[in-house]
């Protein structure tokens, strides 16, 4: 028994203290992984904030964006043109979703809309693969996947780029939300649909805008994940990775998605490296969920979620 306690409570920390450089490497790996999760979680948050829809299809939107981008690049389009065209496709997709799915389902309970996005998930999966092919593709955007060493700590160039991109993206989004008229309208809609409608904010336009923004975020996430692990079907499964980030940070909070991503990323890496061997490894599938669950028991609305005020 005391052996077990030693292995769980003492030995991992001794290992950490034993080789600080390795610990830093693990931490940095965790931070980068976390930011990658955040990129996906951001798309969820944007849509949930503005329309109260828990968009399960975000993972497939990432895949779809990446597939479109790669498909265009393969056909010889320059990077900038391909990016612009992909963005256009995502805006068109947002428009179609608003028209076909959201508008008929307005005022339905959240679970129905959630289910509708799962239907959308299936549709986009089939459509994306039919349009662009199902084989694994390599996405080369000119950032080499190599590492350099700073003071004995390995840093991956691609991951660093992803981290910087995430930071820039979040700053831009924050500026967009806080300073523009559309951002103001978005925040109003997020607060209260009916009140926003009654003062003349066009709900339909707002939805198209917010799904388009989520689509653009999906392009960035697709770029980064695609460059890392190739563009393939499993890319859509990162949605499942982003969910713990989402509940940890709170569904409504952009900073929450970032902080949640960092906590999950670092926690996951630490757990995997230092505690994973105790239980036979392969814990990355559920560890993030249990970590998020533990946080939720203390704060049921996530770290940065809106405080739930309950009244009859």
């Amino acid at each position: 028994m005391s052996d077990l306690l030693y292995m769980v409570l003492v030995a991992p920390f001794k290992d950490m203290a034993g080789s600080p450089a390795f610990l830093v490497e693990v931490l940095i790996g965790g931070v980068f992984a976390g930011l990658m999760y955040s990129l996906v979680a951001l798309g969820f948050v944007l849509i949930y904030k503005a329309s109260g829809v828990f968009n399960f299809a975000q993972g497939v939107m990432v895949l779809f964006a990446a597939l479109t981008l790669v498909g265009l690049l393969e056909r010889g389009a320059p990077v900038v043109v391909a990016l612009a065209l992909t963005a256009a496709v995502m805006v068109g997709l947002a428009y179609a979703i608003e028209r076909v799915v959201l508008r008929p389902l307005v005022n339905q309970p959240q679970i129905i809309l959630f289910m509708a996005t799962i239907g959308l998930n299936f549709f986009l999966e089939g459509f994306g693969e039919m349009a662009w092919g199902a084989n694994v593709k390599k996405l080369d955007i000119g950032i080499p996947d190599r590492s350099f060493i700073v003071r004995g700590v390995q840093i991956n160039e691609l991951e660093l780029t992803a981290a910087v991109t995430a930071a820039v993206l979040v700053t831009l989004l924050a500026l967009f939300f806080q300073t523009t008229r559309i951002g103001l309208a978005l925040r109003a809609v997020a607060d209260d649909h009916e009140a926003a409608l009654s003062i003349g904010i066009p709900l339909k336009t707002i939805w198209v805008v917010v799904w388009s923004v989520a689509g653009v975020v999906a392009i960035v996430a697709g770029l980064m994940w695609g460059a890392k692990s190739g563009v393939q079907f499993s890319l859509s499964l990162i949605a499942l990775k982003a969910l713990p980030v989402l509940i940890l940070g709170g569904f409504e909070s952009v900073p929450g998605a970032i902080v949640g991503g960092l906590i999950i990323g670092v926690g996951e890496k630490l757990g995997e490296v230092y505690w994973g061997p105790l239980v036979g490894g392969a814990i990355e599938n559920w560890f993030a969920y249990v970590l998020a669950l533990a946080f939720l028991l203390v704060r049921p609305q996530g770290l940065f979620g809106e405080k739930i005020i309950e009244r009859v």
Binding site: E125, A292, L296, V312
Partner: protein, 358 residues
């Protein structure tokens, strides 16, 4: 309906609250159940029983279980696959450890095991609500599957990591394992789902079901009028997991024959949730309709191009199937967000007034 309820007066609360208040309905359902026991084993071929009817019955049971939790008690759960796995693995462990134990008892006990695990993972529902809870139940899903994969004890140290249904008999007839006929397995599955559907129907119209619905509709108000959230929510998780556990045990013992954890992955959870929502939240009939729809649709879609005389590559066909499947889910949600059960109800109302709708 073709028949009218004119002249059937309810003179007591008992008759007013009956499961089937109309005589014709009672007769019809009874006849349908008897027919379901007798006709398909005699008439239907092995393909029909094995590929369509048996999975339909098993998934109907799982859908009823999830509907109790999500439709009646309002707790969104994505851990169904995990709870089904608990049922399947504990049935396997029980029946290999105690070969003389009746397989019916094994199924019920493995349901109880799933209920215990369900209670455990239901505890967070007291603090966590809505989508936060849904994601939290994913923790159960992923953790349980990982556990069954990692700990070889659950599979009796089988090197392949699969569990296989051994031969077991009920009243001298082999009902599980490779030597059981499809008809025997069908009757077994039907008996379970018929009994448990009746139990569920009675649960939801009684005190327990009403307290579930009170919690679902507004939990704070329910708490104020004296419904205990702790007991009510945990009971919902326990009973729902019991149903899912039995369904999981049946899935391996009566349908697949042998399975590994892959059979209970997250897609299974979504599949059952689809059935519940397409069929209709908060409706036992809806669970049946939803299960039938989700089981039949892929089979239909697979055969459709062949029937139309089209030839296409397997990959393309799979992609088109996915698109149609997703599209149909969207279509049904948009046409009737309350599910097939509501469509059935509307149709019934219309027929009742037909041909003079005013």
């Amino acid at each position: 309906m073709i028949y009218r309820e004119a002249g059937q007066f309810k003179t007591s609360y008992a008759s007013d609250q009956a499961v089937f208040p109309i005589v014709q309905d009672r007769v019809f359902v009874l006849a349908a159940v008897v027919a379901a026991f007798v006709v398909p084993p005699l008439v239907a071929g092995d393909y029909w029983l094995q590929a369509i009817l048996i999975p339909f019955l098993i998934y109907a049971l799982a859908a009823i279980g999830l509907n109790l939790l999500t439709g009646y008690a309002g707790q969104l759960s994505l851990g169904t696959g995990g709870f089904m796995a608990v049922g399947a693995y504990s049935a396997f462990k029980l029946t290999t450890a105690f070969p003389r134990l009746s397989i019916i008892a094994v199924f019920l006990l493995s349901g109880l095991a799933a209920a215990a695990i369900g209670l455990l993972f239901g505890i967070p529902s007291l603090r966590i609500k809505g989508f936060y809870l849904a994601v939290a139940t994913l923790a159960a899903q992923f953790f349980l599957i990982w556990l069954f994969n990692k700990v070889a004890w659950f599979t009796n140290y089988a090197s392949s990591g699969t569990i296989t249904a051994p031969d077991r008999t009920v009243l001298g007839v082999t009902v599980t394992g490779p030597n059981a006929t499809a008809a025997a397995r069908y009757v077994m599955a039907l008996a379970f789902v018929a009994v448990f559907a009746l139990v569920a129907k009675n649960l939801v119209r009684g005190r327990i079901g009403r307290s579930w619905m009170a919690i679902r509709d507004r939990d704070i108000a329910a708490e104020i009028i004296g419904v205990r959230p702790l007991r009510t929510k945990l009971l919902a998780f326990g009973i729902s997991s019991f149903y899912c556990g039995v369904a999981g045990a049946e899935l391996v013992f009566l349908y697949l024959g042998s399975a590994e954890t892959l059979a209970f992955d997250i897609n299974q959870s979504f599949l059952v949730l689809f059935m519940v929502i397409i069929g209709g939240l908060g409706s036992i009939l809806g669970s049946w309709l939803g299960a039938a729809f989700i089981i039949l649709l892929p089979i239909f879609l697979t055969r459709l191009p062949h029937g139309l005389g089209l030839t296409m590559s397997v990959a393309l066909q799979k992609q088109i199937e996915l698109m149609i499947f997703g599209g149909l889910i969207l279509f049904f949600l948009i046409v009737e967000p309350h599910g097939l059960a509501r469509l059935w109800q509307i149709g019934k109302e219309k027929l009742r007034l037909w041909p003079f709708p005013h």
